[in-house]
Each structure stands twice: as C-alpha cells, then as structure tokens.
Symmetry: C2
Subunit: 267 residues, 2 copies
C-alpha cells in the first residue's frame, strides 16, 4: 500500500513553536481529505499505526486527532474494525403540521402520524407514570407554585427502532384525573384527543428550543454517536382561554432532528 509521509503540516521538523498543536494539524489534514471527498462517507481511514507513520507522530497524537474529529461528528470508530468517515444520518423534519387537529382528532397520535408521513416507523416506551412536585420550568408555565404536585408521563420515543427523544409531559392533577393520560395507553389520538374529550379546547402551542451537549447518561439513553448535540425542546399547549394545559419537556437526538416553522411576518 502506498504510504507516504505528509509534508503539509507546517513546520513540523523545525523546533519553532509558532505552529498549532500537532494533533490539530493532523485533524485539519484529515478533515480536508474528508471534505474534499478524497475519503468519502463510509471510507475506512488508515489505522492508527499507519496514521502515526504518515504524519510522523506518536500514537497518542493520532488518538487525540481522531478524538477531535469524532467530537465534530465527522468520523466514527469501531473497535477491532477500523475508523470510518461518517454517513450523515438523515434528519427527521419537525414541522408544525404534525400537530394538525385533523389527524389526532381522527385517532392518529402526533408521533405516529408524523413518522408515517415520512416513511418511518414510530414507537414509544413509557418510562414512568407518576405524581411529582412541579419543577420550576413547568410551574412557571402553569403559573403555579414550584413544588405543587403535578402528573408526569415520561416516555422514550423511537424512530425506526432507535431511541430519539426523552419526553416528559406534565399536567395539572385535576386536568388528567380520570383520563387515560394516566394510563400506559392513552388510546386513539393520544393525549391531545383525551383532553378535548374532556372539554378542553386546545388552541395554541409554544415551542422553545436550545442546543447543548448531552450528559453521559443521555448519551447512553439515546444511544448517541460521539459528537452529537441534543435539542432541549419545551412545548407548552394552551387552551382557548390562554391557560397552559400541558408542558412537555424533552431532549432530542440532534442528528435525527430538524425543525421547520412557517409563520406570517408579525405586525
């Protein structure tokens, strides 16, 4: 195999200290090869040993450089098998049409309807159904005292079998008492349909989004590849009187989510 040293890494031979760290220069060079498709998606990179020879550095430096590119989400490593240029996951689009009343009022839950529209399969696993003291974020939106008992429905949603969201839906107790929202299976149309059955007229939704890096446990729960951020999404649903009836606090895998909002220019 052709294995030649790369002489493009700036002043590596001289002892001058005006260059960036070796690991960064190595990472830059590899990134360039990937971005120019010299190493296309799915391509197997040279082994650590080979890279060390190519760039004339130690294994530890190669590891650091590979770590940097993993953090950027550019490559993935597979123990015993190799290092590969990452195939970007196709993100699922979240448009506001997923909340269309015509769908859930006819028995199709939001999650399932949206997945079907995009040719995917949806699933969910209930993690917990219980009464808890309202966390500050939730209390604020319900305009109640933090710590007031509220009902929470914690679930993990799955797309094509892969967990993609940790979603906790909060309700005031008297809103859900006696409804199937307190049960594992909420029935046709999901929670929204149950609320309207009870006489609550759902009117508006407010969504707030932020991006951040996942914690260790979130990486595990969502099976996140390295270098994948998460989206914190807080969704508040209001009734016709402007009263919040559901607050959903969720964490989504960033590589599987894209959001789309379409709105008229406000006056």
């Amino acid at each position: 195999m052709c294995m030649q040293t790369c002489s493009t890494l700036g002043s590596m031979t001289s002892g001058v200290t005006d260059a960036r760290p070796l690991q960064v220069r190595v990472a830059d060079d590899v990134r360039l090869k990937i971005e120019t498709c010299q190493w296309p998606p799915g391509h197997r990179l040279p082994t650590y040993d080979e890279l060390a020879v190519m760039y004339g550095c130690s294994l530890a430096v190669v590891r650091k450089a590979v770590d940097l590119l993993k953090q950027e989400g550019l490559i993935v490593t597979a123990q015993g098998s190799g290092t590969f240029v990452r195939q970007r996951a196709v993100a699922r689009r979240h448009g506001i049409e997923r909340y269309a009343r015509s769908r859930w009022s006819t028995g199709q839950a939001v999650l399932v309807a949206e997945a079907q529209a995009q040719g995917r399969t949806a699933g969910q696993r209930i993690r917990e159904l219980t009464e808890v003291p309202a966390p500050p974020v939730v209390a604020e939106r319900f305009s109640i005292e933090a710590g007031t008992p509220v009902w929470v429905r914690r679930r993990t949603t799955l797309i094509d079998g892969r967990p993609n969201q940790l979603a906790d839906s909060y309700y005031e107790l008297d809103v859900v008492r006696g409804t199937r929202i307190m049960e594992e299976d909420t029935g046709p149309g999901g929670g929204f349909a149950r609320l309207e059955e009870k006489g609550v007229r759902l009117d508006r939704i407010s969504e707030e989004l932020m991006a951040r890096m996942p914690s260790g446990p979130e990486v595990a729960a969502l099976q996140l590849p390295p270098g994948t951020p998460v989206i914190d999404l807080t969704r508040t649903t209001y009734d016709a009187d402007g009263k919040a009836v559901e607050v959903m606090v969720s964490v989504l895998a960033g590589d599987m989510a894209s959001f789309c909002y379409d709105f008229p220019i406000p006056d």
Copy 2:
C-alpha cells in the same frame, strides 16, 4: 487542604473488568459534584495532580476525564490558572416578534431591535458582498437552477461584542440591483425595508433549524468554548405571491441562542 481518596468509583482496586473505563467513572463523579452544587458554577476544581491523587489514577486519565466534561460544556480550563465549573451563558431568545414590520418599517433593523429589547448591544461586520453561483440549498428555495448567479451578503453579527452568528443572505440579482442591499450599509430598517421600498411586499417567513458540532474554522470564527454546538438556521422570506425573495443561511453559537415559536394548532 482536605484531600482524601474517593472510594466511590466501583471496583477500582480489584482487577475485574466489569466496570466502565476509569476516565468515565472519574468524569461521572466530578459531574455529580457539579450537578449537586458541591462544586458550584465558577468554583475552581482541584488541580490535575490533586485529582490524580484523589482518584488514585494517572495524570493521563484525569486529562481524559476533564476532556469529557469539557466536551459536555460543564467545565472550562484556563492554562496556568486552573479548571473551573462553567457559568452558563444566558442565551438570547429568538422569538418571531423580532420580525415585526412595525419595527423595521420605522427604521430599526431586526438585529438591533431584538438586541435592544433584551438589553444588549448588537453589531455586525460585513465579510463579503459579491455575486456567486447559487449553492444548491439556496437555488432550491428560489426555484432556480443551482449555479445561477445570485447576490450574497456575508456578515458576522455580534452581541455584546462577541461574534454570535455567521449569516449569509442570498438574493436574486434583479431583486437587489440598484438597492443599498448591495452596499455595506443598507440604511434604516435594513434589507427588509429596502425590499419593501422597491415594491416587494414581504409576507411570510420559514425557518429551518438543525444542531450540529462546529468545524475547526467555525470554532475560531465564533470564538466557541469547547463543548458548544452550533445551530444551522436557514430562513426564507416570501412575498405576497409566495415567491422567495431572500434566503439567509446562518450558523449561530449554540450557547447564546434559544428559539421560541408560538403558533395556533393547525387544522
């Protein structure tokens, strides 16, 4: 100083291999201390040497653990000074009211109006004003052939002096020809005001968001702390005929951005 070994890291003494990597256990323990505010924001962590003694491991393992927490955005390191629990930056909220016609039609640019409303100062630096072949994403939204010449206005926006967004606004040539959108200073009310002056009636906006990790150059341009994701935001502005008149492709620092959308439940 009280410096005792931590015995909470699972089976560290036994040679059994059923535990997670040392660096992960160390990171977990430190994360716990931070989350429980035993080490509050701004607190200086023990030095690498001290941590190595505390956890009974080598310096390299401590470095790895610290790297993990840096990636999570939980801590920051300062060479020569120490390691500190990160103070979360207060994110700027982006609500759709920032596009209100009443503001820019009276001479206040969107960027400035939004910053002022939140008690911050806004600024911008024009990086480039030129004609380019339309990138695929842009061409698609304009419904033109990719590669067709379009006008682009590349700028870096600043909030409180820190760069927070790389924004490239694209226009079809005959839309901007002869307007101040082709100049550095677009004048009062910004590009939106100039378009309406020309007889274009702006009607709707569509925003698409995705989160990802920044590339090396983006980290530099946006001065991103480690462990900070970016938001890819593509904004398309349509006129009353449903024709796209501006496509803005931008990259925002994730730790300074939060988005809020409020909409009626669709039928």
